[in-house]
């Protein structure tokens, strides 16, 4: 599945479209502690988290995640949204809990 397919799915709100729509989503990763995510997020993952700040985007970018998915109705603050636009990072959002969100993506990988 590609990032574009996730975006077009209808399940998620597109917070920031990003610039790598053709990127393949290789796996799903769940974590809210940034240092843990930093050490463990696999490259090419859809990262499901409730943490929506600047540092989330830095971690997504540095670990080479395919996209960030904010679950549980978590929001991206304004500075972070700008940063996502500048850095071309895809950020999607949903009201669903983390587990259900990740499971749905996993099923369709």
């Amino acid at each position: 599945m590609t990032v574009r397919e996730l975006m077009d799915d209808g399940r998620f709100r597109v917070v920031s479209p990003g610039e790598n729509e053709d990127r393949k989503v290789d796996t799903v990763f769940c974590c809210d502690l940034l240092s843990v995510a930093m050490g463990r997020a696999p490259s090419g993952c859809a990262w499901v988290t409730v943490m929506g700040n600047m540092n989330t985007l830095a971690v997504a970018s540095l670990t080479d995640a395919a996209c960030v998915i904010l679950a549980e109705g978590a929001v991206l603050d304004e500075t972070a949204r700008k940063k996502a636009g500048e850095q071309g990072i895809t950020v999607l959002a949903t009201e669903e809990p983390i587990f259900e969100t990740a499971l749905e993506i996993y099923k369709r990988l």
Partner: protein, 140 residues
């Protein structure tokens, strides 16, 4: 080393909106130079953790990155409080980060262990009350 490329970054203390910019810049430069994605990822992760530590635990400082044909050497120097017990600080989960830092998603005590895990060599020179210099090497 004549053919080394040297990059220098000043790191401001307590500025979480800018923390990570130096690491991001190094990441994109290495990518442009055609360094392998695996090595780029290692450098980016290790340097980001060190950069964040300089912002949270020290009073900012300076990062110097040397890129040579066979290795990348990162030197992170701060004039912060120093680390009283390095062995303890290296333990996964050990953190002195205050609650407001934890609410940002940091303070899991995984930074130094991540830096060790993702680099081929890591050396910590620290003196309490004087500062800390961490040198990390990623082989290419």
């Amino acid at each position: 080393m004549e053919d080394a490329i040297i990059l220098k970054y000043g790191i401001s203390p307590d500025d979480f909106t800018r923390a990570g910019e130096a690491s991001s810049d190094v990441k994109s430069k290495l990518k442009q130079m055609g360094v392998s994605p695996e090595a780029v990822r290692k450098v980016a992760i290790a340097m980001y953790e060190g950069e964040i530590n300089m912002v949270i635990h020290a009073k900012g400082g300076e990062i110097t990155v040397q890129i040579t044909p066979d290795r990348i050497i990162m030197e992170l120097a701060d004039v912060g409080p120093g680390i009283p017990d390095v062995e303890l600080a290296m333990k996964a989960g050990y953190s002195t980060a205050p609650d407001e830092i934890r609410s940002l998603g940091f303070g899991a005590g995984m930074g130094l262990p991540n830096m060790k895990k993702y680099t081929d060599e890591m050396k910590i020179d620290t003196t309490v009350g004087v500062g800390t210099t961490i040198t990390m090497v990623v082989k290419l």
